[in-house]
Each structure stands twice: as C-alpha cells, then as structure tokens.
C-alpha cells in the first residue's frame, strides 16, 4: 500500500485543521471546512480524504493548535517521523503506551490536557428568548398527541365488546351442546332454568352479532386513528 509520506505522517499524527489552513483571521477554526477530528476508519480516510484536502504548507511550522494532541504539542511540523510512539494514537488496540494522562477519578469529564479547549457557542439574547418561548409553548401544550381520550375509549370499547361477544358465543354453544333443550334435554330440569336456557340460546347470537361488529370495527378504527392522527 503506497501512501504519500506527507499524508502518512499527517494520518499518524491525527487531523489538525490549522495545518490545512482551515482557520479564519482570528485563529478560530472555520466550522464549514472542519471534518470530524477522529476518523474511525483509516482506510476510508486514506482513500477519499486526501484528494479533497488542501496541500500541506511547506513554510514555517504552524502555531500550536488547540486540536493538537498533548504529546505532539512540542513538535507539530509536518515532517515529523511516523515512528514516534504517537503513531499508534489512532489504533486503540495496539499495545503502545497511553497517549493521554489518566483523568482523575473524581472528575471523569475534566479536560485531559492542561490547556483548555476554546469553544465558541453563538448564543444571543434573541436565542434565549426563543428558548423561553419554546418552553412556554411546550408547557402549555398539554398532554402528548397520542393521548386522545376518545381513541382510548374506542380501544377499550372495542376490546370489551369483542370479549363479551366471544363469551356469549361460547356460553350459547355450551347451552345448546351440553344442556340442550330438544330431544336429549334434561326433562326433569327446572322449568325456569329451561326457559332461561332456551331464551339465552336464542338471544346470544343476536346480541353477539353487533358486539362482534363493534369489536372488529372499533379495533380497525383505533389503529387507523392512531396512524392518521399521529401523522398529521
């Protein structure tokens, strides 16, 4: 694998926007031309990135960059040898010595190097007012859009109707098949129980039919409403 030694040294050291001239007059890194500093895939970096980058400066070594690694802060010239211990910085699996000093256990999010990294965040008074407005709007907006009480009611009605219809069907089946009211029925049974069994065996299908309709239609409508009201 043949790689230009200039680029090879740059890859081993890590990306430094200052070396590419991607800085404005004040020394801050221009955000539009700053790619992610840590590229996890060196292969794609070696394949595609060098063609889009500006050529390396050949004059004086650039000033110290806040993006440079602490061990490389003393020598940031482009001609640094690639055989330095920091050559393994991009490969965490190698057995090289740790490049960063260990962070203190009490404060795991503290910056690892002594020099703070300058970060500019553009926040003006207008932005703060917009945030407050948005928070007001969120607080006054009420429950989440999927908590439609009528959709919940429709779902509950559908489930109850379906369960009731199935229970009625099973009960009427048991009445007709087991107790019976015809030739094989129990002739010594109580007359009232016979009448009730006959009535229920006749009435259960007529009651179960609309309940099945409510259950099936309501379940389908619940799903359709959940989809439709969520999308709009």
């Amino acid at each position: 694998m043949n790689v230009d030694p200039r680029y090879a040294a740059q890859f081993q050291r890590g990306y430094d926007p200052r070396e590419q001239g991607a800085v404005d007059a004040t020394g801050a890194v221009a955000p539009a031309t700053a790619p992610p500093a840590d590229d996890a895939t060196p292969a794609s970096d070696a394949a595609g990135a060098p063609a889009t980058r500006a050529p390396l400066p050949v004059g004086d070594p650039p000033a110290a960059s806040p993006f440079a690694r602490p061990s490389a802060a003393s020598s940031t010239s482009a001609s640094a040898p690639a055989s330095a211990p920091r050559a393994d910085l991009t490969r965490p699996s190698s057995a090289a010595a740790p490049a960063y000093p260990a962070a203190p256990a009490a404060d795991p999010v503290a910056p690892r190097s002594g020099s703070p990294i300058p970060v500019r965040v553009a926040v003006g008074p207008d932005d703060v007012l917009d945030e407050a407005d948005e928070l007001d709007r969120l607080g006054a907006s009420g429950p989440a859009p999927w908590r439609n009480p009528f959709v919940i009611a429709l779902a509950i009605v559908s489930v109850v109707a379906l369960v009731t219809a199935i229970a009625l069907s099973m009960h009427s089946y048991a009445l007709i098949a087991d107790t019976g009211y015809g030739y094989d029925s129990d002739r010594d049974a109580d007359g009232g129980a016979m009448v009730w069994a006959f009535f229920l065996s006749q009435a259960a299908p007529n009651l179960a039919a609309p309940l099945y309709g409510v259950g099936v239609l309501g379940a389908a409508s619940t799903v359709a409403l959940l989809v439709a009201l969520r999308r709009r």
Binding site: A140, P145, F198
Partner: protein
C-alpha cells in the same frame, strides 16, 4: 332606590353548532341500542311459543302468527346489527378527530400571539 338586580344567568346547556351532529348521533345510537335490547322480546316469545306448541296443538295458529311476526322483523334486526356498531364507532372516531383538531388549535393559539386576546 335599590341596586338593579343582576341578570340571572341561564343554566340551560348551550349546544354549539359543531356539537349538534354529535348530539344527534348519540341520541340515534341510544334509540338503536334500545331497539336492539327490545328486539330480544322476540327471542323470549320464541321460547314461550315453542313450549306452548309442544303442549297445546290448538295453539298452532297463534304460534304461526308469532313466527310470522318474528320473520318479518328479522331484516330490521339484521339492519340494526349492522347499523349500531357503525354508528358507535363513527361517533367515537369523530370525537377523536374533533378533539385532535381542538388540541392542535389550542397549541397554535399562544398567549404571546397578538391575535389572542386575554379575557
């Protein structure tokens, strides 16, 4: 000279035009549900006339009248079987859609907007 009495506030519920279809729909559903329950009378009478026909052969003509009535009412019962679920589900779905629209309107109308005036 006493102070004029305040105008009594009417406690009669006001039905807005947007809610009138729902009021009509729920009344319709109540009537249809009552018809479904009332149609169970045919099932109860069928039990009576089945037993009566088994006991008294002379009641055949009266039993035939009942069965003819039940058969004449069967299409209406089937129509109720189709209509009641459709009306109930349509009412609940309409309420859900209207509620969703009202909520979106309430979200869009913010007190900071100049179009929204404080009461």
């Amino acid at each position: 000279m006493s102070a004029p009495e305040p105008t009594p506030v009417s406690t009669r519920p006001v039905i807005r035009a947007s809610r009138a279809p729902f009021v009509v729909g729920w009344i319709t559903f109540a009537i249809l549900a009552a018809l479904v329950i009332g149609a169970l009378w045919f099932d109860y009478q069928s039990a009576y006339w089945a037993a009566q026909s088994a006991q008294d052969p002379n009641s055949f003509s009266e039993a035939q009248r009942f069965w003819a009535t039940a058969e004449a009412a069967r299409p209406a019962r089937e129509a109720l079987t189709v209509l009641v679920p459709v009306v109930l589900v349509a009412l609940l779905a309409g309420h859900a859609v209207v509620w969703n629209g009202a909520r979106r309107t309430a979200q869009a109308a913010h007190p900071s907007d100049p179009d929204v005036s404080a009461p």
